[in-house]
Amino acid sequence: MNSTGAELSVEGVHVWRGDRHVLKGVSVDLGARELLHVSGPNGTGKTTLLRVVCGLLRPEQGAVSWLGKSIASVRAEYQAALAYASHEPALKGDLTALENLRFAVGLKRRVSAADLRAGLERTGVAACADLPARVLSAGQRRRVAMARVLAMSAPLWLLDEPFTNLDDAGAGLVSGLLQDHVQQGGLALVVAHHDLKLDCKVRRLELTA
């Protein structure tokens, strides 16, 4: 941990997409028990920022560091510590929900089928465990993706629009999971249009065009 107590720090990140200057020097620090809510109008680079933080996209300028070290230099440990949910649910239609989880989470840590079923139970899609993902509704797929984030048991959650396609109960459920995660010492970076009403420390980052 570095001197400021921040575990994840983003310093002066600039990203150009062709001629477009998408991220103009974004800097933010995030420590344990903190949630960063990234908001802003469409096209202001919220997803781009998330992909930079993941390490999928290398910024033209600036750096992202985890526990004081650049994420490129500690890639394996950093990736083991993060759970990313993109705006697509990232499920294989031909595999069942449980198989999808097993193959995705199994690469990160050893996990039993019972654990995965428990995760699906928590997100309210236990009944879909043995159905191929292609027959699930968009909301159910989102819940399965959330179960995958849970099962990875990673300290850092990076979620892109986790409330899309969810009904009110589902949105409440995701809020509850986020709150539990942060209160138990986790970090979360959430891109969302919603206002987050959470009983934990929420910091806001508003991106503008």
Binding site: L56, A76, A80, P89, L95, L107, K108
Partner: protein, 226 residues
């Protein structure tokens, strides 16, 4: 409770095989293509056994190359389209491990399957049974090499909407040595010349590509993921 690289590779191979067997039609397409193309040749030319036997190695190898190319397009594309490639890239194992496992699994369901049906095609083209061992060995080495080359091409074209033709244009020129030495080995075995030299060359190409291609494909994939 970290997962080792071997364990991760086995898991990815199992995932790929599981996905392939859920879609038997896509699994069978390259094989049926291979059988049909090789059957067309005796129909299209004079079906004299001596003439057929002269052409058999070339026909067999060209058909094998083309049918392997058919399924290469989807090697990374299907995962890139549904977002699972990002999950794989962030799994903590390093993308190279994933690329190796995926390419090997792809070879198992295409190249290895071609090798297994090649005796049927060989019989149809009049290749003597004594040359089958050489034919199958050369096809096994050649198709594995082609899968590694194809992985580079598939990684480069993953972001394109219709990258299939470009993929062929990238991979086929690189596959020429395979065709020359693969068909040469089979031809040698038919006509009684020792095929060992050609087989060694194929094996060398296979080792060369399987050591370097995964890294090239990883770099290409990383660029397309950005």
């Amino acid at each position: 409770m970290n997962v080792g690289a071997w364990e991760a590779m086995i898991l990815v191979v199992r995932r790929e095989l599981c996905l392939s067997f859920r879609r038997p039609d896509q699994l069978l397409q390259p094989l049926v293509f291979f059988l049909i193309v090789t059957t067309l040749f005796p129909l299209g030319i004079n079906p004299q056994l001596s003439l057929l036997r002269d052409m058999a190695p070339g026909v067999l190898w060209v058909a094998a190359l083309l049918s392997s190319l058919l399924s290469l397009d989807s090697l990374f594309k299907s995962d890139a389209d549904d977002g699972t490639l990002e999950q794989l890239a962030l799994c903590g194992q390093g993308l190279t491990v994933i690329v190796v496992a995926k390419t090997f699994a792809h070879w198992l369901v295409t190249g290895a399957a071609l090798v297994l049906v090649s005796p049927i095609v060989g019989t149809a083209l009049g290749i003597p049974v004594s040359a089958f061992a050489t034919m199958m060995l050369s096809l096994a080495l050649g198709s594995l090499t082609l899968s590694w080359l194809g992985a580079i091409g598939a990684a480069l074209t993953v972001g394109l909407r219709r990258g299939n033709v470009l993929l062929s244009l990238i991979v086929l020129p690189l596959a020429m040595p395979l065709l020359i030495f693969g068909a040469g080995a089979t031809d040698g075995a038919i006509s009684g010349v020792s095929p060992v030299g050609a087989l060694y060359f194929l094996a060398a190409l296979c080792v060369f590509t399987c050591t370097l291609a995964p890294f090239a494909a990883t770099v290409a994939l990383r660029i397309t993921l950005e």
